[in-house]
Structures are given as C-alpha cells and as structure tokens.
Amino acid sequence: MILGIPDPQIVIGYGLAIGLALACIVYGWLHWNEEDDSNGS
C-alpha cells in the first residue's frame, strides 16, 4: 500500500498526473527562449 492506496493503478495515475504537470514545467523552462524555425508569416 502506497500513500494509503492499495491499487497500483491508482498510485500510477497519481504519479503520472503529477509527473506530467512537472514535465510541463520542465518543458516550458527548457524551451523558454527557443526561437521558432518558422514564424508562420
């Protein structure tokens, strides 16, 4: 049982949700000043 939850599927769900939110932060941080290859204009 992890964090009071017996089902690994739920634990993995929580892990993924938090992990993906962190991935968004890391992605935004790493690509903060990335210039475009194409500006569409």
Binding site: G4, I5, A21, W32
Partner: protein, 522 residues
C-alpha cells in the same frame, strides 16, 4: 447556507464589476476584426495558458466530475492524466504550434476557417460551422443551467432571472470586446479558480488528517460501497473498478477517454493557439497550463473521493447518501459543511469564474462560426465586427432558449456529448490535416461526416445513457437499445473516433499514393 446572502451578493457584484472592467480594457484594445476574432495574434503566454485552462474547465468539471469521484472513486485521476498529457502537452506541443503556424500563414480566424484553408474546401468550412452551430448550444445551455442553479440559492434570485442575468452579463463583454476581452477575463477568472482550488485542497487534507491517512481510511471504508455499485463492479474508492464491468466502462470510456480525448479538437480551444505571437509563447504557456489543470481536475477528483471520509466521520454516511443520492450536490454540500465561511465565498466565486470563462468562449466560438463560417463565408461581411456582434447575440438567445427547454439534469451528459462529437467529427481531419504534405479534402470530408454520423447512431441507438432518454430507438425499433451489455455501456467516442480515424487515414494514404502518379502524368 453558511454565509448570508447580502455578503455574498456584495462580493459577487465586486467580482462582476472587476470582470466587466477587464472586459472593457479588452474592448478598448479591439481595433480590427483580427483583434476581435483571434486577439490580434499577439497574446501573452500566461494569458493563453490561463484562458485555455479556464475555458477547458467548466463548473461541470469541478462539481459534476468531483461528485463522480466521490461516487466512483479515485480512478478518475486517470482523467487528469489525459487532461494534462493530451489536453496540454499533446495539444500545445504537437497540435498547437502547427495550428499557430498554419493559422498565421493562411490568415485563418476560426476553426472552420482553418479547416477550409487547410483543405482548400469551402464545403468543409460549412460542415464544421454547421456542427458547431448545432452542437455547441447544447453544451452552452448546460453551462447556463449549471450557473443558474448555483446563482439561484446563493443569491436568492429565482431560476429564470438567474439564467437570464448570467447569460446577458457574460454576453456583454463578449459582444463588445471580442476574443481579447474573453481571454483577459478568462485569465482573471482562471486566477480565482487557482486560488479557490488550492485552498480547497489544503482545507480538505487538514479535515481528513492528510492524504495518506485520508486514503487509508477510505480504503478501510470499501465495505460501505453501495450494493448497486458493488454489483456493477465497484469494490472501493481507492481501487479501479473490476476490468470489463459496467462501472469500469463508465469510468474508462465515458469519463476518462470521452472527456480526456474530446478536448483535443474543441473549436473554442483550438482558436487559442492562433492567438499566440510565436511558438515561444506556446512553450511558455505549457509551463503554466500543466500545473493549472492538475490543480483543477486533480484537486476536484481527490477532494471528491476524500469527502467520503469526512462525511462518514462526521455523520456516519458516505458522500452520496449525505447528498440524498444527488451526485451534483456532493461537492457544494461538502464545501458548505466542512469549510470555514470565508472559503464558501471563495469557492462560490471559483464556480462562477469557471462557468463564465467557459460560457464566454462558447459564445464567441458560436457567434463567429455563424457569421464567418456560414452566413458570410467567402464574403467581406464575414469579417465585419457588427455582423459578429449580431451573430454572438443570436447564438446567445438560441442557447438561452435551449437552456429553458432542457431538463436540469442534463449538465454532465451534455458536456460529455459535446466533447465526444467534437473529437469524432474534427480530430482526425484536424490532426492529420495540419501534418499532411498534401491534405486530402475527400478524406477530411468523409472522416468528418462518418465520425459525426457514427457518433450520432451509437448515441441514439446503442449507448443506454443517451438512447433511453432520447427515445428515438424505442420509437423506431420498439426497443430502448439495439445492442445488449456490454455495448450499451461503451461510450460513442470509443466506436466513432476509430471509424473516423480509419476513414481519414485510408483516404489520405490513397491520396498520397495517387499524388506521385498525378505528378508524373503532369
């Protein structure tokens, strides 16, 4: 309720005044049709992220789906996984950047306009516009009903007046300020939502003794699962339903897949990508968008499930019993009974913000679809500010009338139906179209029509949750559904979306294979 009506009315009026003032700033900055339709294509990354998130998350996500988590358990956290993984990462990085680039290059101003210019097919623009104008009022009406149902007891105003005032006040800043006003107010409302959900999580964790202790207690409470749910495959709030059981199909296909994937091709969200100045803005928006969605749906589902612990410890009942069997009443009841008075106020403003931010985006998307994509398509009037303002008013009136005609229990169902239809009709043509070298018009048209038709057929004749209340199957075939279990529990999106993708992929590949032959012949 815990807070007196006068205090609540004053705070709501302050909130509305601030919203209208921000809307007025948007109105002052709107000088051209491009400002009105795509916010001048130069929105700030934080505005894009908060506007996208606040539009994405409606009252239904917090109240409706939070209540579902209280009833069906923590398995709904997988919807948050899809909300962030598909709704933010995939949407912004894979679809958003391409959409922005193509939108800028082709000067597209609405989602159907983008499809038309991408595929060089006015017919596609008409069909996409038609689907929006027909289906979006259903979702809009659901948001209006939800908002009015909340305003009625909170401010002590009768339902009809609540609905009319809610519809008109939101329409005012959309009509005059266009997308700039919508996005500015969305950002303000998104900030309120973020504060409200953060405080809700903190108070809930304190009330149940922390996440681990609360979850452990919830695990021990598994024996209290109602017999009707247990018979359908639910064995506790901290475990997934039994694989292949009716509850499993409901959680996984309707709630997780239906809503999680449905978000990818919603016209009012796709337009947000076209408001970005450059791809750098979208990269930066991802940083804000992911945590924002986690704090919305992740918190709603966690609090919903843990509310069972609080209700049981204080009243000896589980959440659904405490709420008298009404899933939609669980979250408001928990807030009113478990939270300090000041938080009740914050949460009410959070709900109002969630409803208004989604409603304003829908008004804008419907009005512009009516004018730009149907009535004035290909003509100069398609970009007329006055015409768009009239279009938004017309669609606001249609949605309001529909809200009075629909049953009040339609909120969650209408939300899921709209998202399902959007995904089945638009997603394959949109996703493949923005990446294909030579997008096939025939493939897009066939995909869009087949997706919409199969979705409708499954909804009306097989999926019990809609087929039974619609009554079409009963009237034509004399039976409530054409197929039996487990098909009746499988959401239409699980059937219609693969059909739409297969049609799109097959015809697109055929088109690509024909291309070199055509070039050689030429």
């Amino acid at each position: 309720m815990a807070v007196d009506t006068l205090t609540m009315t004053v705070l709501v009026l302050i909130y509305l005044a601030a919203t209208l003032a921000i809307g007025y700033i948007g109105y002052r900055q709107t000088k051209s049709s491009e400002d009105y339709l795509v916010a001048g294509r130069c929105s700030h990354p934080v505005i894009i992220a908060l506007s996208y998130g606040a539009t994405f998350i409606s009252t239904s996500a917090i109240i409706g789906f939070g209540g579902q988590a209280a009833n069906l358990g923590m398995g709904l956290i997988w919807l948050t996984v899809l909300n962030i993984g598909a709704g933010i990462l995939l949407a912004f990085i894979v679809f958003g950047k391409k959409t922005r680039e193509i939108g800028h290059r082709l000067s597209a101003v609405t989602f159907p306009d983008l499809m038309c210019k991408l595929y060089k097919s006015p017919l596609l623009q008409y069909i996409a516009g038609f689907i929006i104008v027909i289906s979006m009022p259903l979702y809009t009406a659901a948001i209006l009903i939800g908002g009015a149902r909340f305003i009625e007891p909170t401010l002590g105003i009768d339902y009809t007046t609540s609905l009319l005032v809610f519809a008109v006040i939101t329409a005012v800043y959309v009509v005059f300020g266009g997308l700039i006003a919508v996005m500015y107010t969305d950002a303000f409302q998104g900030t309120i939502m973020l504060i409200g959900m953060t405080v809700l999580l903190a108070f809930t964790l304190v009330a149940v003794g922390g996440f681990s202790a609360g979850s452990a207690t919830l695990t021990i409470m598994a024996g209290l699962v109602p017999k009707t749910l247990a018979a359908q495959g639910m064995s506790g709030w901290t475990v997934m339903p039994e694989l292949g059981s009716p509850i499993w199909f409901t959680v996984v296909t309707t709630l997780v897949l239906g809503v999680g994937i449905g978000v990818l091709a919603q016209p009012q969200l796709v337009v947000r990508f076209m408001t970005a100045k450059d791809n750098k803005s979208l990269n930066r928006a991802v940083l804000v968008g992911g945590p924002f969605i986690l704090m919305m749906t992740g918190v709603a589902f966690t609090v919903g499930a843990l509310s069972n612990v609080w209700f049981y410890q204080t009243s000896g009942k589980i959440a659904i019993d405490a709420a008298g069997g009404n899933v939609d009443a669980i979250m408001p009841l928990f807030i009113n009974q478990a939270m300090p008075d000041i938080f009740v106020v914050i949460f009410m403003l959070t709900l109002l913000s969630a409803a208004m931010s989604t409603l304003s985006a829908l008004y804008h998307a419907m009005g512009t679809a009516l004018v730009c994509d149907i009535w004035g398509r290909g003509r100069e009037c398609a970009l007329s500010l006055r015409a768009h303002q009239a279009g938004i008013v017309v669609m606001m009136v249609v949605s309001t009338i529909l809200a009075f005609l629909l049953p009040v229990s339609i909120i969650a169902r209408a939300t899921a139906m709209f998202m399902g239809l959007c995904a089945c009709a638009f997603l394959p043509a949109f996703a493949i179209g923005i990446y294909a070298k030579v997008p096939s018009t025939r493939a897009a048209l066939s995909s869009m029509v087949s997706g919409a038709v199969v979705w409708f057929a499954w909804t009306a004749f097989v999926h019990a949750a809609e087929a039974k209340p619609l009554g079409l199957c009963q009237a034509i075939f004399g039976t409530p559904t054409l197929l039996g279990s487990p098909w009746t529990a499988i959401d239409p999106i699980v059937i219609a979306l693969p059909v739409s993708f297969v049609v799109m992929g097959f015809l697109q590949l055929q088109c690509s294979a024909d291309q070199p032959v055509a070039e050689a012949t030429a």
